[in-house]
């Protein structure tokens, strides 16, 4: 029997084209397929949850790294200032030192400047 293909208004099972459409595009009927798909979906959700937990952690990690950097910088500045203060202290100690050699050395280092100032004053005034 030859039958002209046509689309029935209600998706009639007797219509060959409707049957072909259904054969091609209907959802699988095998329950095993649906069990497998369900498993895949739930695995996807679990994996995504794992990733999202990691991503949620990431902002905290970024803040932690930033705070650590600020702390390290502050500690560096403090250490440098302490080092500078120690140096100044050591210099003053040398200046106030009563040891003759050190005083003589300081005086020698200050003498040329003092002489030059005197020479300038005598010449100009």
């Amino acid at each position: 029997m030859s039958k002209r293909l046509q689309l029935h208004r209600n998706g009639d099972d007797d219509d060959p084209l409707t049957r072909l459409l259904r054969a091609e595009y209907a959802a699988p009927a095998d329950p095993a397929y649906w069990e497998a798909l369900e498993g895949k979906i739930t695995r996807t959700l679990r994996e995504a949850d794992g990733r999202s937990a990691y991503l949620e952690f990431m902002p905290w990690a970024r803040w932690t790294v930033a705070a650590a950097a600020v702390l390290a910088f502050t500690a560096g500045v403090l250490e440098w200032r302490m080092h500078e203060a120690n140096e100044r202290m050591a210099y003053r100690n040398v200046l106030n030192s009563s040891q003759p050699a050190a005083r003589a050395a300081l005086e020698r280092s200050e003498q040329p400047a003092r002489e030059e100032t005197l020479r300038y004053l005598m010449t100009n005034y």
Binding site: K3, L5, N10, P16, A23, A26, A27
Partner: protein, 197 residues
């Protein structure tokens, strides 16, 4: 065009899939509270219809699977925004339709040969069946996505115009008109074919 009789629902269902709004609402509330098993139960209930919606839009089986997985993931993440007094299925189907449209955009062209061959052909002659399948696929691909989706959801899966409208976010009248145009298009492209059945 009027719908004289409701087409048989083609989706495979089990007793647990039967509509039970109270049970479904309880599952939704549990899932919203973070219960993954409750959400898995929702997946179990809705995956077949979700697949049908996705398949109608993307045509290819593998793409439909991808869209369904994307959609459930999106639904899980957006569950806080869902109001439990609404029908979960309608909300989910909108998400599935959007996910399927995303997949379509990502993969505009797909080899028709990749379409599954496991389905039984209604035609005795394999060569004729193959030829018709190719022409059908080609004809469907030439349809606008929305018209194609309406056609497959209605004629293959048995959804009503109103349900299709809700799923695709279009008025029922538009779904009806899309179906009319889609059928006219297929009749035009495939009307010359004759089959010995």
């Amino acid at each position: 065009m009027t719908e004289n009789t409701a087409p048989a629902l083609r989706l495979v269902t089990t007793p647990t899939d039967a509509a039970d709004p109270a049970a479904e609402r309880a599952l939704v509330l549990d899932a919203q509270a973070g219960d993954e098993r409750a959400f898995a139960a929702l997946v179990h209930r809705h995956q077949r219809r979700a697949y049908a919606v996705a398949r109608a839009i993307v045509l290819a089986h593998e793409d439909a699977e991808d869209a369904v997985q994307d959609a459930f993931l999106h639904a899980w993440r957006a569950l806080d925004r869902f109001r439990p007094e609404q029908p979960f299925g309608a909300w989910l189907h909108r998400i599935v339709a959007n996910a399927a449209l995303d997949v379509t955009r990502r993969r505009k062209v797909r080899d028709a040969d990749e379409l599954t061959d496991v389905h039984a052909s209604p035609f005795r002659d394999p060569a004729e069946a193959r030829n018709l399948r190719e022409r059908l696929t080609e004809a469907l691909r030439h349809l606008p996505v929305r018209q194609r989706s309406v056609l497959v959801l209605h004629d293959v899966e048995g959804f009503r115009h109103g349900e299709i409208g809700t799923m695709l976010g279009i008025p029922e009248g538009t779904a009806r008109s899309d179906l009319h145009h889609a059928r006219a298009h297929l009749r035009e492209r495939l009307g010359d074919l004759r089959s010995h059945t």
